[in-house]
């Protein structure tokens, strides 16, 4: 089973009218979509507004999503089109280099830093980055390694168990504890 199946199940619920299922997809992909829209729209408040609009369009079209592609690939196309339309509405020209929808899976949500970043925002970003790094440094080595293999390298629990030569249950515990430790440090910054 993969994350794609989880998305598919949430989409199925949303198609059946469970709005909360769609809200969870929003919460999962909001960062990626906002950053994607940020390639077109540089004003931070407008960027969020356009990203919200993309989600609303996706919700209204959700019954047409048949699952031929991953949910995010589908959402990515909607977000790009919404951002382009917003640019046209602003009478701006779209960027000369277009975005390939097939790149959705590989899209790095970072995008360029936005010129309008405020000093406060920059400071928060730095704080978050430092907090994550510190939290990682303070983890016991086996937890840090397990989490890195999972989150950065995208390995399955089974693969990690083989690499670390221990039972899969131990890997689950290590990843769980590592996440707990990071959450507890990040929570004050993210809330």
């Amino acid at each position: 089973m993969s994350e794609r199946l989880i998305d598919k199940a949430l989409v199925r619920r949303a198609q059946a009218g469970e709005k909360r299922a769609f809200e969870l997809l929003v919460r999962k992909y909001q960062g990626k979509v906002i950053n994607l829209v940020g390639r077109y729209i540089t004003d931070p408040s407008e960027r969020e507004d356009v990203a919200q609009e993309a989600f609303i369009k996706a919700y209204r079209a959700i019954h047409r999503f048949r699952g031929a592609s991953a949910f995010y690939t589908w959402l990515y196309r909607i977000a790009v089109n919404t951002a382009k339309n917003a640019l046209v509405a602003q009478r701006h020209r779209p960027p000369r280099t277009d975005i390939d929808p097939s790149a959705a899976e590989q899209f790095n949500a970072a995008g360029p830093l936005v010129h309008q970043d405020t000093p406060e925002h920059q400071l928060l970003k730095l704080e978050i980055k430092n907090t994550v790094e510190q939290a990682m440094e303070h983890l016991p080595a086996e937890q840090r390694n397990a989490l890195t293999l999972r989150e950065v390298d995208g390995m399955s629990y089974e693969q990690i168990a083989q690499i670390m030569n221990c039972p899969i249950g131990t890997i689950r515990s290590r990843i769980f504890r590592a996440r707990e430790a990071i959450y507890s440090r990040l929570e004050p910054l993210l809330s």
């Binding site: 089973m1 993969s2 994350e3 794609r4 199946l5 989880i6 199940a9 949430l10 619920r13 469970e18 709005k19 909360r20 299922a21 769609f22 809200e23 969870l24 929003v26 919460r27 999962k28 909001q30 960062g31 990626k32 906002i34 950053n35 940020g38 931070p44 969020e48 990203a51 919200q52 989600f55 609303i56 919700y59 790095n108 949500a109 970072a110 936005v114 925002h121 970003k125 978050i128 980055k129 994550v132 990682m136 989490l147 999972r150 989150e151 950065v152 399955s156 629990y157 689950r172 515990s173 990843i175 769980f176 996440r179 990071i182 959450y183 990040l186 929570e187 993210l190």
Partner: protein, 89 residues
């Protein structure tokens, strides 16, 4: 030690570690497919699981070195409000 609700149990209740490990496994696509729907049920009903859902996806972005411009809860709340009947969208 606190009570362990069954997988379909609802509510914002304290849960023990094994329950949260199950959530971790679910998020990572490591829960058996037969349990997927039960886990989704729980995710939709349980505030604690929803909080974790947000945290995991935010932390993943941060660990991957991107997505530092994560929005707060105002964003998803804004989408939900605009989806309400009677909204002028």
């Amino acid at each position: 030690m606190v009570a362990t609700p069954d997988i379909a149990g609802a509510g914002d209740v304290a849960v023990n570690q094994s329950t949260m490990e199950k959530f971790s496994s679910f998020l990572d696509g490591e829960v058996p497919e037969a349990e997927l729907e039960a886990c989704i049920d729980r995710l939709l009903m349980d505030a604690e699981w929803q909080r974790r859902w947000d945290q995991v996806h935010r932390t993943r972005s941060l660990l991957a070195g991107h997505g530092t411009t994560q929005p707060g809860s105002h964003f998803s709340e804004g989408v939900a409000a605009r989806l309400e009947p009677g909204s002028h969208e």
